[in-house]
Amino acid sequence: MFDIYCPHCQEYREEEEFHASGEAHIARPLDPDNCTDEEWAEYIYFRKNPRGIHHELWVHAAGCRKFFNITRDTQTYEIKETYKVGEQPTVTE
């Protein structure tokens, strides 16, 4: 059970209020008309799925309903930091 700090609400709330939405920082292709099938597949389906530090998108679904990012270790489940969308993580490995 996670105790998650919502950077928008600026308080800790329990996991039940949140929803995990997968890997963070996935940029939509800038030139979609000229993407190959491989590039589209990479964007839509292929994920890092790391065993270790992971930057992921969460939504405070039963709270402020805003999206934000979490840096979390997928092996120990330890949450290293939370930060707003558009900001960069400080923990990268």
Partner: protein
Amino acid sequence: MQKYSGFGLFKHALSHHENWQRVWRNPTPKKKYDVIIVGGGGHGLATAYYLAKEHGITNVAVLEKGYLGGGNTARNTTIVRSNYLWDEAAHLYEHAMKLWEGLSQDLNYNVMFSQRGVLNLGHTLQDMRDIERRVNANRLNGIDGEVLDAKQVQEIVPMMDCSENARYPVMGASWQPRGGVARHDAVAWGYARAADALGVDLIQQCEVTGFEMEDGAVVGVKTLKHGSIAAGRVGCVTAGNSGVMAKMAGFKLPLESHPLQALVSEPIKPILDTVVMSNHVHGYVSQSDKGDLVIGAGIDGYLGYGQRGSYSTIEHTVQAIVEMFPVFSRVRMNRQWGGIVDTCPDACPIISATPVENLFFNCGWGTGGFKATPGSGNVFAATLAKGEAHELAKPFSMFRFHDGSLIDEHGAAGVAH
């Protein structure tokens, strides 16, 4: 291999059961194998067995970082069925079902396969339409299935709340009589014993830490304990850790590894002689031969390699079960655990060649790999033996995500499969 039989049991009773042969050897790995299989779970062991039995390739090693069948094979809820919607998936799972039906005899090991039937409940009009479509698709593929109404469901499961007063009243179900359960550990042990008897080396506590490559082809694996071992071909059957293995080989897979939890109750007297699954209320339950209720539901939504999930997921699971079976509300839960499932975007597996020559992956079974164990091993063995995909495995290439030929089984995959 010492053959098991009723007479053998009697004979060993005379010597107080002190002279049973070891079930498999504990060999030191050779320098080179024709095929190395990474991962000693059900699927990996089945692959090794069929390689030796059907393709005559016995110079095979199975490398397992822990102990045999200690991952998802030991952690699933043992349900077997083949009522998938699309032809590709239905054929693959039905191939497995046919092997299940003769498995105990084939392996000379009682896998306790019990065809007690599987119910997939419908609670809405749309559920019932989907069920009708799926059952019809199944029947056209030669897979048994029936659409039942609420009254027929109530007759099969008298203990379930099928009344109109339920929060989500049962409107009907799909019913696959040939579905059921099997003893998960026995499947791993049975395949291990039979593979070992055919000459396959089962190497436990041997973690693979990398691949030996030459000119874009794999030529062996690096291990923590036994150094490098050469191989003609390598098959990776590492479930939740498949993404990690792919990264070692230098490519990505369209997989995400999630925790999937399950739990069992204290043993109670026989109350449920079939398998009940509900996509809508979101839970499934069966009763083991030991008497405990075996319960599961959905994955935890976040990535996790920790073989554990969140309490809230367990709470939702148990809520669903009590919604269907109010009579279970006072049953105490005994044990709870989690496994790492490698979920694929289309809820179908990957049985495939990879960008690395001679390296093959069998993964992405997600929440429903157990039921496919024999079929998965069988087609993956053929794939490894010939160096190209078995007919049934062809649609399950990892490259289907490039050309868009996905096989969307989210409906039939259900709760968790």
